[in-house]
Each structure stands twice: as C-alpha cells, then as structure tokens.
C-alpha cells in the first residue's frame, strides 16, 4: 500500500513537471512584453510600436485568442536608454512574468536586453532594430524581421541610378557616427562599386547634431546631386532645408524613418520628392485594409499616430501568435521557439514580404520596396515591389 502510494505520488510529481507552464501563461491569458520608447523626443516611435501590439492583440483576441487564451500586452518605458531597457525587461520577467517579448526599441537597447533574453530563453521577435548585431551571432530564441539599412539605401540608389539619375551625377552620403551610420554607408559603398557611381563626398556627423549647414555646404561644393541622406527626423529635415537654401537640385535617398508623418511634415516644406526604402508597405490596399481593421480597436487620436513601426510590430506579434498557436494547449517557450524556427511563408496580408525564419540567421522580411514622396501633398507612391537586394 505504502509502495503504491509512493509510486503514485512520484508519477503525479513527474507528470506535473512535464506540463508545468512557463511564466506568463495561464488558462486564460498569455502575457507578452513590450520595452519601448514611451517618453522623450522619440516617443512617437514607441507609441506607434505599442499601437501595433495593441491592434494585433485585439484582433487575435477578437478571433478567440491563441487556443482560447487572450493576449495581454505589458509595456515598459526605456526612454531609449539601454540601461533602462535592461531594468525594464528585468521587471517584465521577474514581476510581470511575461512569456515572450515583441515590441523593442533601438539596437543598443535590444543588445542590452540580450543577456536576459538568452538566460530566460525568451521568445523574442525584433522588428524595429534589424541590425546585424542582433542576428549575428544568432541567439536561439531571437527572431528578426527587417532589412538592413545597407539594403534599403542600396535599393534606393539602384533605382535612382537606373531611373532618376541626373546628368553628370555626383553621389554623396551623410551618415551618423555609430553602428547605424556604418550600415548606411555600407549600402552607399556597395552601390558606388556595383554601378561605378561618381563618389563625390562622404560626411559623418555626431548623433544629436541638429545643424547641418556646414555639411550641406561641403556637399554643394562637391557638386553632389544625388544624396544618400543618412540623417533622421529633424536632422534629415535640416539637411534638406539647408540644401534648398543653397538651391541644390538633388535626388535624395532616405532612411525609412522619413516615411513617418512627423518626419514628412518636417521635411516636405523643403520641396524634395525624396525616396525611402522600407520592408513594410507604406501605401496601397494592404495599408488601407489594415487601417480599416484598426479602427475597431483604437481611438481616432491613436489612429493618427499610426506609422511604419505600427505595421512591423503588428506583423511581429501575428507571427509570434501563429507560432504559439501551433503549440496547442501545452504552451512553452521551448515549443514556441521551435515553431518560430519552422515558420515559413507566413502571410502578412501584403504589409511586407512573406515571413520565413527557417534559415541560419532566423531573419526574415528583408525584401525592400522603394517609395517616393510627393512633397506637395505629402503622400507616398510605390516605385518598386518588395525586392531582395
């Protein structure tokens, strides 16, 4: 009798161990974390990311959740400071008990969280900082969606060279002095080599620079009429504004952050119909359909804050939910990571190229589409489909 009791107890203990849920999973909900830029000058990016998570979660929950479990998003602010990202993720893991991580901010912020992500085998989808440092070396539970700035600039410069190149074209690049700027210049460099472009000038600036009068004057002196503008938001607008003051006529390739409404509002007055390369759709039926569906879940004020970061975060959570769905009721981090690895041709309903993580870098969504701004009415038109560069 005693032996039977002991054997039964042991069997029960073993069985509970096999089915013990990972943190963040209950019978009714799954907690997904976001560590975003919710305060500071770049908070409009973080808010857009949070919106993407909210819309995706609401849509998933409206359709029965993930195997009956609702997605609950828990957001922490890192203010774009890497040490705060580390602290925020510690809180999400230790206090809020998240199951996986979706929304993230910059490259340095993700890298600061990486030791915690690896330690906890946290399924993580990185959509806003697709820097090579994130996926090289590849971390087992980290999946990256997005193209590199190198490919984005290469694609734009290729298009300009083939379709919009002015006579006696002189190319130039201005880029930030950090890892982001290095990739911008890499794309420029590749285009110069591949197409034999005339390399007029390469300029670097310190992050935080707001006045580019000197740099633009140097570009003007070098005769640049095709510019790879690696500045962002206010900086990019200042570059264009200074160029207009000097009467420079130029084709401009830009960072994908320049397709966000606040950036467009800053840059458009300079009158340049600049190009952007992006790995998500900016216009077209896919975006219209997304906005229509989003109206059910967000306020009009929130809708005005939608931008490309909303779309990429939305895609990230949809892919994550799809992987979790494949695990059935016995949802674990290990199973989710395995399912993410097997993800192939996940349909994003036209918001980006199809998502496939079954490669050695666990990287997807690298195809770039090139768009051009109409500075007069501040709308974008697609110049190319999604193309792998």
């Amino acid at each position: 009798m005693r032996m039977r009791t002991l054997a039964l107890s042991a069997a029960l203990l073993a069985s509970t161990a096999a089915f013990a849920a990972d943190p963040g999973v209950t019978d009714t909900e799954i907690r997904i974390g976001d560590v975003n830029i919710m305060t500071g000058p770049a908070s409009f990016i973080g808010r857009a990311v949070a919106l993407g998570s909210k819309i995706a979660a609401s849509e998933i929950n409206a359709n029965g959740g993930v195997n009956g479990r609702n997605i609950v998003i828990v957001t922490e602010d890192d203010g774009y400071v890497p040490s705060r990202s580390f602290q925020a993720l510690t809180k999400l893991i230790e206090v809020d008990g998240i199951f996986a991580l979706n929304g993230t901010s910059g490259t340095a912020n993700v890298l600061a969280m990486m030791p915690l992500i690896e330690e906890n085998n946290l399924p993580t989808v990185v959509t806003t900082a697709p820097n090579e440092l994130i996926y090289n070396p590849v971390r087992p539970s980290v999946f990256t969606i997005g193209a590199s700035y190198e490919d984005a600039f290469y694609g734009q410069l290729k298009y300009i060279h083939e379709n919009l190149e002015p006579e006696n074209a002189v190319y130039g690049v201005i880029r930030q002095e950090d890892d982001f700027g290095v990739t911008v210049e890499a794309g420029y460099d590749r285009a110069v080599r591949d197409f034999g472009l005339k390399d007029g000038i390469r300029l670097r600036y310190t992050r935080g620079t707001t006045n580019f009068a000197t740099e633009v004057a140097q570009m003007n002196a070098a005769g640049v009429n095709v510019l790879a503008n690696g500045a962002i938001i206010a900086g990019a607008a200042n570059v264009l504004s200074e160029a207009r003051k000097l009467g420079m006529e130029a084709q401009v390739a830009s960072v994908w952050s320049e397709n966000m409404p606040p950036s467009v509002n800053l840059s458009a007055p300079a009158g340049y119909d600049y190009l952007v390369g992006d790995y998500v759709a900016l216009t077209g039926p896919a975006v219209d359909d997304f906005i229509e569906r989003a109206r059910q879940y967000v306020t009009e004020e929130e809708l005005a804050g939608l931008n490309r970061y909303t779309y990429v975060t939305y895609i990230g959570l949809k892919v994550l939910a799809h992987a979790m769905e494949q695990c059935g009721q016995e949802l674990t981090r290990e199973c989710t990571v395995e399912q993410l690895r097997q993800t192939r041709d996940f349909d994003t309903q036209g918001l980006s190229g199809a998502i496939s993580f079954d490669n050695d870098k666990q990287l997807s969504g690298t195809a770039i589409a090139v768009y051009q701004l109409n500075a007069a009415d501040r709308t974008f038109k697609a110049l190319t489909d999604f193309v792998e560069y």
Binding site: P82, S83, F86, K91, E302
Partner: protein
C-alpha cells in the same frame, strides 16, 4: 545627552564615530542589507544594485564637486572609461574581475589628469564646460578606435567570477556591489576627515586663502580629480558587470546631469547626502509608478495615453519642490529631524 567629546587614546581619535548609537545603527543597516536578498524579489535586488552603483558614482562626484568645489559635467565620460576598461580587460585580455575592476578605476584616474591639468586655473561654469567637452571627446575616441574599443558595436561582458561564483547575476552580484559600495564609502569618509579632505574643503571655501595658508592648489586639485575619477571609474566597471553589455549609448550625457542632481538633492559636500540623494533618485521612478498604480485609473484615456509623460513630469516636480523648500537637501532634512527629536519638547 552627551556634553562633550573626550578622546583618551589614538584609536578613539581616528575612529569614524565615537557614538555607540551610531555604530549600532550602522551595524543594523549593514545587517539589513546583508539579509535583504533572503527575502527580496529579484527585481528589487536589481534596483538595489543599480542604486548602489549610483551611490558609488555619487560619492565619487561629491569628492570633486561637493568637497573640493570643482564642478564637473564629465562623469558620463569617466563612467564610460571605467566601463570600457573593465570590459576590454576582461573580455579581450582575460583579466579576472578582481584585477580589471581596480584597473578600471586606475585608468579613469590617470585619464582625469588630462582634464585636471588644463583645468587648474578654471572655476565654475568654465570648468563645467571643460569637463563636458571631455565627455564628448571620450565618446568620440571610443567610436573611432574600434581596434581597441570595438567601436559602435559595443562589448558583451561575461565570465566575471569571484570564488567560483558568477558575480554578474542575482545575489552574488548584489553582495559584490554591496562590498564595493561599503569600501568606497569608508574610503570617502576617511579621506574627508584627513589632511587631504581638509585641504579640499579649504580650496572649496576659499582657494586663495587656502593657498596663502600653504595648501598646494595644483597638487590637491589634481588629487581630487584623480580620486573622484577612480571611484567613478569603479562605478562604470560595476555598470558593465550588471548590464553585461556596453556601448556609448549607455553613457549618455544625461548621466552627468543625474549625478549632479543626486549630490545636490542629497546635500552638497556631505557623503551621507550623496548616498541619500543617489538612493532617492534611483527609487523615485519606482515610487511614482507604485503611486500611480494605487491611485491611477487604468481605464481612463488620460492615464493610458499619457501615463509615461505624467510620470516624467512628476519626477521633475518632486526634485524642484525639494530644492525649493529644502535646499540643504535630504541630509538637511535628516539633521532637522534629528535635532527636533533630540530637543523635543524644547525648541532648541
């Protein structure tokens, strides 16, 4: 009530305090800190580690700004020097952490001479700008010497062990940082009441009079820079151990401003003030978050749309109110409370 201070031996003369009550409370405090990991959540331990690292940095800055009167906005640069030195020695050259961490302080101290020597004749705002420039130069050098610093890619820091314990996680990290913090505070306390500390205070109060009295301004100002930077470099090394990844984005200029805010809020010139200010500002965001969770309505649009901004504003308001109504800082508040307690029911 005590009526005087009677020292009967050299040991009593050099003791940090002659009050049994003070020693009892200090011992109680240390015991509490040692026992904390046994009951506290991991997240609280993370906050405590961050607060203790802030204490180390604030005590270091206090020696330069509070005790010697030399304003510095270059703390983020010295933090970066310490962090990168520790990271490079550990990861690229395989040094053990018990050697790399002091080395981080030594390198920061030596580099502070580059700031200190040109700054000898400068005071106030001019010195602040010079030290600010140093912070920018450090960032630039880190970015453009990738062969040494890994450039913009940053450095992952791992493998720090003491007695075979991984001191970059959980309780071992907490105890290691606690030990370093206690040592730094003891160093600062002893320096402040030594001949060197008195010379620093004389320079702060009136540097010309100090010189007239025979204090070598060059020597003592440079010493202040070096000792302060040594301690701040150690704080930088501790940051690299805790976060386990560093790049220049971790050492933004705002850190210099926050460090100044800590020592001003705590009480300029006081080591206890620097400790209190660092702890106060480290925990303030969490306290505000907790208050919001208690009294905020998660269903209101105002709350959900603007909670982060409101928290940021609340953070600033608390600091401003404190400086307006208690310019002596937290240590002034403590002294007033102690005096009130000692004198009650009498007014004085």
């Amino acid at each position: 009530m005590r009526t005087g201070h009677f020292k009967e031996s050299y040991g009593q003369l050099v003791a940090l305090s002659d009050s049994r009550v003070t020693w009892s409370w200090a011992g109680f405090g240390i015991a509490l800190l040692i026992a904390l990991p046994l009951v506290a959540h991991n997240y609280l331990l993370t906050l405590m580690v961050a607060a203790m690292i802030a204490v180390v940095g604030a005590v270091g800055l206090n020696m330069l700004t509070g005790t010697t009167g030399l304003i510095s906005l270059g703390q983020s640069g010295f933090l970066a020097v310490g962090a990168y030195t520790n990271a490079m020695l550990m990861m690229d050259y395989g040094w053990p952490v018990l050697l790399s961490l002091p080395a981080a302080g030594v390198v920061a101290a030596l580099i502070s001479l580059l700031v200190g020597v040109p700054s000898l004749r400068l005071k106030g705002l001019y010195l602040a700008i010079t030290t600010l420039a140093f912070a920018f130069i450090v960032n630039h050098l880190i970015l453009h010497n990738a062969w040494l610093t890994h450039g913009p890619n940053g450095i992952f820091v791992s493998g720090a062990k003491v007695l075979d314990l991984d001191i970059q996680r959980g309780r071992p990290l907490y105890y290691f940082v606690l030990a370093v913090t206690v040592l730094v505070i003891l160093l600062a306390l002893n320096l402040q009441r030594s001949r060197i500390g008195r010379a620093w205070m004389a320079i702060r109060d009136h540097d010309i009079a100090a010189r007239v009295m025979g204090i070598d301004l060059v020597r003592y100002k440079l010493l202040a820079f070096m000792v302060s930077s040594f301690i701040v470099g150690i704080a930088g090394g501790l940051i690299s151990l805790q976060i386990r990844f560093i790049n220049i984005d971790v050492f933004a200029l705002i850190l210099s401003i926050e460090a100044l805010a800590m020592i001003i809020l705590g009480g300029l010139g006081s080591i206890a003030g620097a400790v209190l200010g660092a702890i106060f500002l480290s925990f303030l965001p969490e306290v505000i978050r907790y208050v919001f969770a208690l009294f905020g309505d998660p269903n209101s649009t105002l709350y959900t749309s603007y909670v982060y901004e409101i928290r940021g504003i609340a953070y600033g308001i608390v600091i401003v109110l404190f400086l307006r109504f208690k310019p002596d800082g937290l240590i002034g508040l403590w002294r007033d409370a102690r005096k009130y307690w000692s004198n009650w029911p009498l007014a004085y």
